[in-house]
């Protein structure tokens, strides 16, 4: 019960007027960053704000940073749903169903669902952080290269399975993603791969460049071929009630939210886990346990609820390795670690006992932050949906502008802007050939992690493949993969048989 006392103390520390103000400031700023890719990713913004944060007391500074991190996640869904542009790796999955819903005039429902499931999930995540941190930290340590390798293989299998109508085209797209992911200097041998001697390519290609090219600009390009006057903006609902998900939506998504929250929390707790794989695994789980897997990809509300839940409960999970091991799990938490260090606080296994006056207010502020975000986001949905009403001749130049500025701002490199142009042309070509871009993006994110963990595992085992089934957690994931494949095959053949017998 001492946890509850500590949490109460934490609320006492967090509930000052100044802290509340900074929570709201952080949430608003994070929301803006999530919506405008031109402002850069959350990690970069956190870094820019570091000097400002350091002028605040430690707990307040961290509270604001957590607000930004949370806010950007909450809002990352907005651009994916409305414009089909994922500005964060974790919102790629939302393009499958979220944008489809928007096309059907249900943008408000999709956004409302993402806000509500995000709220429930981040609350579950923070509760998990409060009570299960020591346990999750222990499991996180047991997660080594073979376990990660199998998790990533799992993820890549899902990429293919979700390709939509043509699995071959999905596979082609995925292979492009793996190829682009290879660019850079290999840390195992120091050899250069596909760098063409350019130092700009030594650290590989940035996610934002790829996503802005493949999704944002190529979308603009493909539409310039149409007559702009004839192309009508998407439908937007007329009544406020239509901006919210219906009771039926919520009922259908119950299980998806729960599954997503649990998956997101545990994957977030792994150092190096990340929200991308969390949102992706959750989508696949929700799809494969659904009674109507065929509806996914055509605008299923569960396809928004599940991954958004995972994405948001991950932020509770990701604080576990940071606060209890001193090991950051993502780019944003690395900056938070930097802030702690600059405050003169060394995070580590002793942080909870040595600096309770910082840890508990921060955890309490996460509870408050999710409430602030829900209150902030729900009434704003009708406003954001108005983006869909902007005529294309005005919307497209704005997208182009934001994309170029966004690409430049990631590393402050004009080379990246040229790279953006290249990927835009590539994305245009893919659209013309009807090759989906999402598998390429997913493979790009998962590929490097998959490659390095497979190589690390084989090095540890002297190239024996048995390492993947000798270790219990790894063997468990292998079993889960096989089970899921079997289940997917079974449910699909059953479905097909039923369809056949109906004739």
């Amino acid at each position: 019960m001492s946890v509850l006392y500590n949490l109460m103390d934490g609320f006492e520390g967090a509930l000052t007027l100044m802290n509340l103000m900074w929570i709201i400031a952080g949430a608003v700023l994070g929301t803006l960053i999530g919506i405008l890719p031109g402002l850069g990713n959350p990690a970069a913004t956190l870094a820019i704000l570091l000097p400002l944060t350091l002028r605040l007391p430690p707990a307040t500074g961290l509270i604001m940073m957590a607000g930004i991190y949370h806010g950007a996640k909450f809002a990352g869904a907005t651009t994916a749903i409305l414009l089909n542009i994922p500005t964060e790796t974790s919102s790629v999955v939302l393009c499958y169903d979220g944008h489809e819903l928007a096309k059907q005039g249900r943008a408000g429902a999709a956004m409302g669902m993402s806000a509500i499931s995000g709220f429930i999930a981040s609350t579950i995540g923070v509760i998990g952080l409060t009570f299960a941190a020591p346990l999750a930290a222990k499991i996180a340590i047991d997660f080594g290269p073979p376990e990660f390798a199998m998790l990533m293989v799992f993820g890549l299998l899902l990429v293919v399975s979700m390709a939509g109508k043509s699995p071959i085209k999905g596979l082609i797209s995925m292979l492009f993603g793996l190829l682009v992911a290879c660019v850079g200097v290999d840390i195992f041998t120091g050899s250069e791969r596909f760098t063409f001697g350019s130092i700009n390519l030594y650290d590989g290609i940035e996610f934002l460049i790829l996503t802005l090219g493949l999704f944002a600009i190529s979308e603009v390009l493909i539409n310039t071929g149409k007559k702009m006057k004839e192309a009508k903006p998407m439908d937007t609902p007329k009544r406020f009630r239509d901006y919210l998900p219906t009771w039926d939506d919520l009922r259908r998504s119950r299980l998806a939210i729960l599954l997503g929250s649990i998956v997101g929390f545990f994957i977030g707790a792994l150092p190096g886990g990340g929200s991308t794989i969390a949102s992706f695994v959750s989508y696949a789980l929700v799809k494969n346990t659904s009674k109507h897997p065929e509806k996914f990809g055509t605008g299923a509300i569960e396809g928004v609820a599940g991954p958004e839940a995972a994405n948001n409960s991950e932020s509770g999970g990701t604080m576990i390795p940071l606060l209890s091991l001193g090991l950051p799990g993502s780019a944003s938490t690395t900056v938070m670690l930097a802030a702690l260090l600059l405050y003169g606080i060394q995070p580590g296994p002793l942080l909870f006992t040595s600096h309770p006056e910082i840890v508990w207010p921060v955890i309490a502020s996460l509870y408050l932050g999710t409430i602030v975000l829900l209150v902030l986001n729900l009434p704003m949905i009708p406003v954001w949906v108005q983006i869909l009403r902007i005529p294309y001749w005005l919307l497209y130049p704005i997208i182009l502008l934001l994309a170029v500025v966004g690409a430049y701002s990631v590393r402050g490199s004009i080379f990246d802007v040229w790279l953006l142009m290249g990927f835009s042309a590539f994305g245009y070509m893919m659209r013309r050939l009807e090759i989906p871009a999402a598998p390429m993006l997913m493979a790009f994110v998962l590929g490097p992690e998959a490659e390095s963990s497979i190589r690390q595992s084989l090095m540890l085992s002297n190239n024996r493949l048995s390492i993947f089934i000798e270790r219990p957690i790894s063997a468990g994931i292998v079993a889960a993969i096989l089970l899921l494949i079997a289940f997917a095959v079974y449910s699909r053949t059953k479905h097909r048989r039923r369809a056949m017998s109906a004739y």
Partner: protein
């Protein structure tokens, strides 16, 4: 009439794009000798080692009242120093860019396959600031109590033990390769891009040993999860005074530079002597401040303020050592 209507959106689109490009191009160049708008270039992203070091320098210099401006930190992480060095080289003669560099830049210059890459000797090295002592850590329940124990076990199990670390050309791997050569042993080097998984690999037992800085380990040591079994430099570590150095343990260290990992300040090529003097004035005051002393103690670093001819001497002897180690690395591959 119809035509101009379709052209209008196009014109708007292109004018906005033009505006974006011109905003990006607004990067003024001034070449006076006295810096007035300093930016610090680092080779890591936000939260990385050099990024933190640069931010600490600015913070401490402001606290100690030797600096009243704010120096923003500019991240050029590509290629572990190569992009940052190239950036400085492109801004030759510009007094407003300096870099918090590490000794890693010397080795990246040699391991890079790129012949056009800038190397440290092309830059103006202004000062060496600190030497970051390298320690050897093992899990707390490990049977090794000294690094000599580890070497003895490595002799019994050639090619079986695992050292965990970062990129393959990083200094901890270079030093380990030289020690393997000196002692006739061999072990594996497991690479992780991020720091977190390195420590968990030790805790999980996937790796038996890691070479790193004091702050990579101090919290885990305090929590009773790791222990320190050796120091790579000739002096003992102040925080762990009971841990003997590798030399004391009788491990042959010839070929391994004593200051394996140091940090310093470099400027673009061709900056004027007045510029160098201006910076040295700030840094010489900085390293004497009590705030700096405190920071060095926390980090487990030694202040090593070296400038002028002594610096040239140090850089060239370090470069010779590293050249040798890189040859060793290439032989192994």
């Amino acid at each position: 009439m119809m035509k101009s209507k379709t052209l209008r959106p196009l014109a708007l689109m292109s004018s906005i794009a033009f505006l974006a490009f011109s905003l990006v191009a607004c990067d003024k160049q001034e070449n006076a000798a006295i810096p007035n708008n300093v930016q610090m270039v680092v080779d890591t992203g936000p939260g990385g080692g050099s990024d933190l070091f640069a931010r600490e320098i600015v913070k401490i210099a402001q606290q100690a009242h030797v600096l009243d401006q704010n120096w923003p930190v500019l991240s050029k992480p590509q290629g572990g120093g190569l992009a940052a060095m190239n950036f400085l080289n492109e801004h030759a003669n510009d007094p407003n860019y300096i870099s918090a560099f590490t000794s890693k830049w010397v080795s990246t210059g040699f391991t890079a396959g790129n012949k056009a890459a800038t190397t440290v000797d092309k830059l103006t090295v202004i000062a060496m600031l600190a030497d970051e002592q390298q320690l050897v850590a093992v899990p707390a329940k490990s049977p090794y109590n000294t690094f000599a124990d580890f070497i003895a076990d490595a002799k019994k199990h050639p090619g079986q033990l695992v050292q965990v670390g970062g990129a393959y050309q990083s200094v901890d791997n270079l030093a380990a390769l030289q020690i393997q050569k000196n002692t006739g042993t061999s072990w594996k080097y497991l690479s992780f891009a991020d720091g977190g998984p390195r420590i968990t690999a030790l805790l999980r037992g996937d790796a038996q040993m890691m070479i790193g800085a004091q702050n990579d380990f101090s919290e885990q040591v305090a929590a009773g999860q790791l222990k320190i079994i050796g120091v790579l430099s000739s002096d003992r570590n102040k925080k762990f005074p009971n841990v003997s150095t590798l030399i004391e343990q009788g491990v042959p260290m010839n070929g391994v530079p004593d200051e394996l990992q140091f940090r310093g300040i470099a400027a673009p090529p061709g900056v004027k002597p007045e510029t160098i003097a201006w910076y040295q004035n700030i840094f010489s005051k900085l390293v004497k401040s009590p705030e700096w002393e405190k920071y060095m103690a926390e980090e487990g670093d030694r202040t090593q303020y070296v400038t002028g001819d002594a610096l040239k001497q140090k850089m060239s002897s370090y470069t010779t050592d590293i050249k040798q180690l890189v040859t060793l690395l290439k032989e192994k591959n």
